[in-house]
């Protein structure tokens, strides 16, 4: 069952939502694959101390 789902996925037209690194979206787009890029980065640039401060400040 699971095998079939994966086969179905690969047989069908691929539609991609790319989150984070824009380079992946650019590569797919260049290869003609429809892709929607979501601009995202970890809160506070990934700095846990700053993220904690922001959380307490209500961000």
């Amino acid at each position: 069952m699971e095998q079939n789902s994966i086969r179905d996925l690969l047989d069908a037209e691929i539609k991609v939502v790319n989150v984070g690194l824009e380079g992946f979206a650019a590569e797919l787009s260049a290869a003609g694959v429809p892709v929607i890029h979501v601009e995202w980065s970890p809160p506070a640039g990934g700095d846990p101390e700053l993220a904690d401060l922001l959380s307490k400040l209500g961000a």
Partner: protein
């Protein structure tokens, strides 16, 4: 945190209730107390001579000669280098200036009064394109134009503006946005609207037809004339927002060609400073990124009030000019700035976004949390003094300024990680 939310609501109220009116043009020394002999105001946060970039040093030498504090540029440079000139940011004197931002006592300044709160802000007059002091120009042609602005243009414009009791700016900006200006790199609509309003007044107050023709010609031939009015307006709107306890709203963004600085309402007059970035943009024929100076000027005050890069969607033409992509992508910039601001300005709307208001009130918490940095439309100066503008582009405010501000605000509120 409720204290911050309440403080920011108050900050937004003050921004939106601002009522800026251009009321006069007077010599800077007359308008700004403390701007006397051998005192010079520059753009951006505080900086010493030995850290200043080429165009800034070139402009300073020119301004010193213009004021008669030195006989020539070499003597002026020596005077500045040995500490005989007091340098201060425009922002410390209720003023703003584009690019190098030179303001000295005899230069005429536009006076904008915020009639809702009673404060005033100042900016020198835009010199036009080509070789100009704001890009570091300092030769005889630059000083001659400055003398004409001081002796002819400034007094004529001041008399005209006074005779009608001032020119209201808020409604003018609203019309400019609908006509494709974003008030930083595109001011052709607002300049034209201003000319349409002031031309008959100038005709009534002028006593010399030849001088009137020169004044009108200067106004009509400089698409960016309105930029300096918009900047003084921005300063007049944001100054009453300073010092609201707990507020995380940015009250000023500026750069001096070396550093980028921001101020935040809840942390008073402290500057949060980081190295300024290079604009990404398009260059005029014959120039490239190798010629460019890092970003400079107080003009990012217009982004601080929701215009410039924040209003990119209003100005598809500017998106192409500053190399920000296709006209259709202009809206993305404005929408992204909506992620880091706390409200919209209902009086300054953008037709292409179904009349959404420009994103207003930059919150340092949202900037750091989202990683989306404020976008600024900017002119690019040649790194050598005296050459002038070589392109236009987009620059991002550095993340470090906002991280410092968040930490300082937390410390002030005694919030620890």
């Amino acid at each position: 945190m409720q204290l911050i939310e309440d403080a920011n609501r108050e900050a937004l109220r003050r921004i939106l209730e601002g009522d800026p009116v251009l009321i006069d043009v007077v010599p800077a020394g007359q308008a700004i107390p403390g701007l006397g002999e051998r005192v010079l105001l520059h753009s951006g946060p505080p900086i010493e001579w030995n850290r200043m970039c080429g165009p800034m040093r070139g402009a300073i030498a020119g301004a010193i000669v213009f004021e008669g504090w030195a006989a020539d540029l070499d003597e002026a440079t020596a005077l500045a280098a040995r500490g005989d000139i007091a340098f201060h940011p425009n922002h410390h004197f209720d003023a703003v200036g584009p690019m190098t931002g030179m303001t000295t006592r005899s230069m005429p300044v536009l006076v904008v009064e915020n009639r809702r709160f009673g404060n005033r802000a100042y900016s020198t007059i835009n010199e036009g394109l080509g070789k100009v002091m704001r890009f570091g120009g300092n030769d005889a042609s630059v000083l001659k134009r400055l003398a004409w602005l001081r002796d002819v243009f400034g007094p004529a414009l001041g008399e005209a503006i006074r005779s009608v009791g001032g020119i209201a700016l808020k409604s003018l900006i609203a019309r400019g946005l609908a006509m494709g200006d974003e008030m930083h790199q595109r001011n052709v609509a607002c300049t034209s609207l201003f000319l349409r309003e002031i031309a008959p007044v100038l005709a009534r107050t002028s006593r010399d037809p030849q001088r009137l023709a020169e004044v009108l010609s200067f106004l009509g031939s400089n698409d960016q004339f309105f930029l300096n009015i918009a900047m003084a307006m921005g300063k007049a709107i944001m100054d009453p927002v300073r010092g609201i306890a707990g507020s995380s709203i940015v009250t000023a963004m500026c750069r001096n060609g070396t550093d980028f600085g921001i101020r935040v309402s809840g942390t008073g007059d402290t500057w949060f400073v980081a190295p300024v970035e290079m604009p990404q943009g398009l260059y005029f024929p014959g120039f490239s990124a190798a010629d460019a100076n890092p970003d400079m000027g107080d003009s990012a005050i217009v982004e601080t009030i929701g215009l410039g890069g924040f209003a990119m969607a209003a100005s598809p033409a500017v998106a192409g000019f500053v190399g920000a992509g296709s006209a259709s992508s202009a809206a993305l910039y404005t929408k992204a700035m909506g992620e880091i601001t706390i409200g919209e300005n209902p009086e300054w709307t953008i037709p292409a976004l179904d009349f959404a208001g420009v994103p207003t009130g930059i919150d340092v918490r949202l900037v750091v949390d989202s990683g989306i940095m404020p976008v600024i439309n900017t002119g690019i100066a040649h790194k050598e003094p005296g050459i002038g503008q070589v392109g236009a582009g987009v620059v991002r405010a550095p993340r470090a300024c906002f991280e410092q501000a968040v930490r300082a605000l937390a410390e002030k509120l005694r919030v620890v990680a």
